[in-house]
Symmetry: C2
Subunit: 343 residues, 2 copies
């Protein structure tokens, strides 16, 4: 295996001494960059872009070259897992994902297959290989997947929602069926993350984007056990868990066998540190909207954010994906401020 | 002033001894009841219903008679305040509120007027008077308004949003202008709540529905000072603050001069009690989706919820508005379980 020249992210994730804080951004490969929009305009849509390895690799590499981040994250989507399990989706412009068919019955659950990443998701694995070759060890590559509960919400609800009441109704009305779906998603996700690692991912992140819609007791029952299975199964590379909105579960997440815990912008880093404990790296968490502010203020807020994490392992990031209308120069300002002030 | 026969809610809000826990539901006057849908079908839309005092009063009274709740809450909308300030809105079926014009410039802010409730919002005040007469002292009537920050988001964003990034952008780019808007909303809201009280409201609740989209520091800066002004200005009746998602601000909210703090279904009642302190009543917080479960399980979960609040002043409610497709019999089951188990 080739040595990674800038291994700040991997060292930070392992709690090793580092000379400055590493930084990357969720959704760094995306609409903020004109270079991305040019590639995106050359294909029919988001899904075609994600499924074309050469193009997915190209947009994955863009922020490394253009923004100077300390890691690449493979350009893909968390919803490739339902698709690989037999539930295809479409991406509707300005509206988001839509599943023509959703999971409702025992029969639907039986029809779901466990994803075989080498065949069902080979396009992601090929993109990973191209990226690794092009990166040539400059920075590590992050692989990712959705957390089982978040994937479950889409498979049952069929689309984004304000309340996700259809998905949450199933948890109450059909708890056993819900567990069966969650287990199938978990098995698929473990296979998928392991395949990403075999093909070159140096670290993997699990996104529980809808964690915040559950009461704490339900999150402990329907989400955490499956996250735990994933963390326990992945021993090859460091694992990051980002459970957006699950402030109430930080203590339990802190006890899982992941290396890094992602924080959203609502979470207070010092409170989070107390709940998560001393043995994990924390990742985050500047408000994505802070990048609408002036260059001066961005530098000020970034410095303040670093101070809140100071003294313990930290990977700098926003508290959520970067918003598409943010000026790339403001993103660079954030990245450079991290490099300057954490030195 | 006429004595209120069932004064459990008012006694609970004042921390006085009560013989059982009072219960009401956010959105109890609404689509869950066929009787509401019949009235709603007789008018052109939601806004016409809210603006017709006789009909607004009728749907306000329905849950008292049909569900047996311990309070009525006036049927209205938090967005009457922007409208009274000069920014009308429309309610788009299945999409939600939409403001044809939004606040962007200094001129827009100057054009905003402070609402004069006796003229601009007389339809709400008339509805309150009808309800009070019809209730004839059976249960107290709750008045309400949106919190300044939540109203601000609609006035700047123009509609609901996943990220509210336009409204939040203004907080960063135009902090002074944002404060001016927030102050005008606050002045309007205080006048409006005082008018509701003069016309008969026995308690008022302030809904900060979008509290959860701000980082803690911004919430302290742009939301709490205006909530505090409202709490300090209203001395006539008890005040409830419900800041959905603002778990990070519970300690500061606990120091405000309100009587009751509402909890959403993510919040752990015991943790919340520690943060809020001993001197307030807590309100909430069963997961609204729990009412999709069986009658037996609803009784079990309700009993468990009561136990988590036990020993300190509590007003039972869901952690958010009741969802429109919940069976009214399940709602009754929740209400009856509160009455039975807290006795």
């Amino acid at each position: 295996m080739k040595m990674i020249q800038n291994d700040l992210l991997l060292r930070a994730a392992q709690g090793k001494p580092i000379k400055r804080t590493p930084v990357w951004l969720m959704r760094q490969a995306g609409r903020i960059l004109p270079e991305y929009r040019a590639v995106r305009a050359s294909v029919s849509g988001f899904i075609e872009l994600a499924q074309t390895p050469e193009l997915a690799a190209e947009v994955t590499l863009q922020p490394v070259d253009i923004l100077g981040v300390d890691a690449a994250i493979i350009f893909s989507d968390i919803l490739v897992i339902p698709e690989a399990m037999g539930l295809p989706y479409e991406m509707i412009e300005k509206k988001g994902p839509h599943f023509p068919e959703v999971i409702q019955t025992v029969q639907d659950v039986q029809n779901l297959r466990i994803a075989d990443p080498e065949t069902d998701l080979s396009y992601v694995l090929q993109a990973i290989e191209i990226v690794k070759k092009e990166l040539d060890g400059r920075v590590p590559l992050i692989g990712f997947a959705g957390a089982p509960f978040t994937i479950f919400t889409y498979m049952v609800e069929g689309a984004g929602s304000k309340t996700f009441s259809k998905a949450r109704k199933m948890l109450y009305q059909e708890p056993e069926l819900s567990h069966q779906i969650l287990q199938k998603i978990t098995d698929s996700t473990i296979a998928y993350l392991k395949a990403q690692i075999r093909h070159g991912a140096d670290l993997v992140q699990v996104f529980d984007s809808w964690a915040g819609i559950l009461p704490p007791a339900q999150y402990s029952h329907f989400a955490l056990p499956y996250l735990r299975q994933i963390c326990d199964a992945i021993n090859e590379v460091p694992v990051t868990v980002f459970a957006k909105g699950a402030y109430f579960a930080l203590e339990e997440i802190g006890q899982m066998s992941c290396q890094t815990v992602g924080l959203d912008w609502n979470m207070n880093p010092k409170t989070a540190r107390k709940l998560v404990g001393e043995n994990k790296t924390l990742q985050g968490n500047l408000d994505p909207c802070a990048l609408y502010d002036s260059f001066d203020n961005i530098r000020k807020m970034t410095r303040q954010m670093l101070a809140e994490f100071e003294g313990k392992p930290h990977i700098a990031n926003l508290g959520h994906g970067v918003y598409p209308d943010i000026d790339p120069e403001k993103v660079k300002c954030f990245i450079e401020a991290i490099k300057e002030f954490s030195n």
